[in-house]
Symmetry: C2
Subunit: 442 residues, 2 copies
Amino acid sequence: MGKNDIVKPSILPGFMELIPEDQLLFNKMKDTIRETYEKYGFIPLDTPTIEKAEILLAKSGGDTEKQIYRFKKGTTDMALRFDLTVPLARYVAQHYSELTFPFRRYHIGKVFRGERSQRGRFREFYQCDIDIIGNGTLNIIYDAEILSVIYATFKNLGFEDFTIKINNRKILNGFFESLGIKNKAEVLRTIDKLDKIGENDVIKELKDIGLTENETNKIINFIKIKGTNAEILESLKSIEVENQVFEMGLQEMSTVIHYIKSFNIPDENYAIDLTIARGLDYYTGTVYETFLNEYLDIGSVCSGGRYDNLAEYYTTQKLPGVGISIGLTRLFYQLKETEIFGEKTPSTLTKVLVVPMDEVHNEYSIEIANLLRNENIISEVYFEDAKIGKKLDYANKLGIPYVILIGGNELASKKPALKDMRSGNQNNLNLDEIIGILKQNI
Amino acid sequence: MGKNDIVKPSILPGFMELIPEDQLLFNKMKDTIRETYEKYGFIPLDTPTIEKAEILLAKSGGDTEKQIYRFKKGTTDMALRFDLTVPLARYVAQHYSELTFPFRRYHIGKVFRGERSQRGRFREFYQCDIDIIGNGTLNIIYDAEILSVIYATFKNLGFEDFTIKINNRKILNGFFESLGIKNKAEVLRTIDKLDKIGENDVIKELKDIGLTENETNKIINFIKIKGTNAEILESLKSIEVENQVFEMGLQEMSTVIHYIKSFNIPDENYAIDLTIARGLDYYTGTVYETFLNEYLDIGSVCSGGRYDNLAEYYTTQKLPGVGISIGLTRLFYQLKETEIFGEKTPSTLTKVLVVPMDEVHNEYSIEIANLLRNENIISEVYFEDAKIGKKLDYANKLGIPYVILIGGNELASKKPALKDMRSGNQNNLNLDEIIGILKQNI
């Protein structure tokens, strides 16, 4: 290709790329999630993006094989990870003897799915996961703790009005068993669609997969049990389902609900909801979904649950766990669509632009920027040769809140001019005064 | 695949995966680099990992095409990025009208190269890049600023004894031109190998590519000019090379060296070195390499330079820039090999493990952990049913410095027992006293 052939700059469809203003908002959310996860003692992991195809596809079937990015280099059959759970399972199995259990890890990283392209769906996106993995056993109280991390995360992200919905697969499965239903997994998957397809279609589908009218009615009445958490638990106890799995699920859920109170989670932020089933096969107990009540059409923004056996494809060790995932790329896209972020936000982290009026003021300007950075104030110097208007324009366009102007008078008096870009006010001040004002206002 | 078939858990050769202890050390370095870059007002970018192959390979040739991970999904020809510079070029060309110049960005992310597998070389690794891109022009002082960011970064990483070597391609190219040498790029590449193959082999190679004995001697004598920065500049001025490019390079280097002083960089941390050429074609002025003097065999740990035209393959806009890159994965691996990190470091971020002696102490333990987290102290509760020895063992193995024990007395008196895991000392104290001690010691 010759030097004069221009390739039109573009990215692949279904991939997200942000302008600086949005990137900063995105990173702020990512940092908040990270800080929250860390405060609960989750340890960061970072596994390879590319893994052996046989590892990622050990549990084969479903959409995974269609969507995975798989390729060969030489004879090596490799693929990009499509979630962070499979790599976690492989990691814990591989490093089992080097880890201390319960193993608490968080992982914030990109995953890849070659889905059909559609608005708001991305083929490369961030997942923000936490999991607690036990060695053989894992106390049910950790299920309450995980719920408290969901609460803290969305609270720290600035949300108030959200509900973490909680259910227990054992309650559903035990109830289905008590009715003599064999294809419980199919029934679960059908119920999970209630939100999307509505009650009538669920009823229709349940009949289609072979349930009797009576069974279908019982199930619909069961999942429609409503009330406060205490009332729902009371109802579940009173219907006296003769089934051990059901009893165990009810016991687990009662314990989780009991401990949630200790974690200081307000009553309005969580609710038992018997319609929550979660599509994924591997959940075996508690399941969570989280809804922003002002943005219900976004769907669940944080989901997860308890599983009996994380790594069955990679080890014979029994490793039960509980975890959640936030699909940050999609969440960010959707929040951005709702215009929740409001008007224009800065396109830089810089708080102070130091502007030498002329070349002879460069050194003093650099000295001031050094000093500000030593005070942990993010600062830069504008070195380009330009008119003062263009220099101030740079600060304005990026949303830098303060400019320090250095001209002849400022250099002679050692009193730089501090300009507040929002008010337009400008004052010649000592550096100590300037640092004081900046520390108070940024 | 049946449930009982176990796939041996492993990752591909040439990929890095860390145990928690090392991951925390790695992340600390990554965070330090990020914080330093941010303090200078660099804006974070995050471009897609997968791009169109035609974009990544617009500048074709060399090792890139052999090493790139390229694959098709449907008819789409895509590839994994092999550096962060090509995506930056594409980004700036694509978003040109949305950006404010000089555009200062940092990018810390993984890149992928299917290199021949060898010890200490990785196929997936982190690069930590900064670049300042001008629109048409970019003041030479930014080259001094970039050097000051290298200095601050390695200082903040905890290094003292390092040297940032600086040269200017125009000085070398202008000198070669003055000798009438045509194949300047080949000569540059040969000189760049001086460190690896030694003077004799460089002389041999220069002759092999067609230089006369006289030309070879002149070049060798030229790049061997030594002394303080001032002395080298003086020598370069005194040899009176009649060449405009040389003059321009000398002028640029003098300016950079002049401004470096304003950035408060100690004399011992930078040095003009005329043997630094950098292999990459696109550098056109200042070039940097950074050496840890106690670990010289690691090679350069941070390199970069000035280029005239970042995005010539994607736009007709002239976009000069200056930037650097730290190959963090390789650097971490090499530092780890030198045992610089010393003895065992913690495998968790948790500072306090709250241990209920029995189930009845769970609630009070949760309450204490909530309180500590509110005070920004990373805390977790140990909920597993186990003997006290096993619970303390969890803290010991992870390197958690403090344990708070809650038994009957502690619950009754509201005076939890604080155990310092290093000294073994244990005292029953008020929560206020405990928080005071923790804040002082962690």
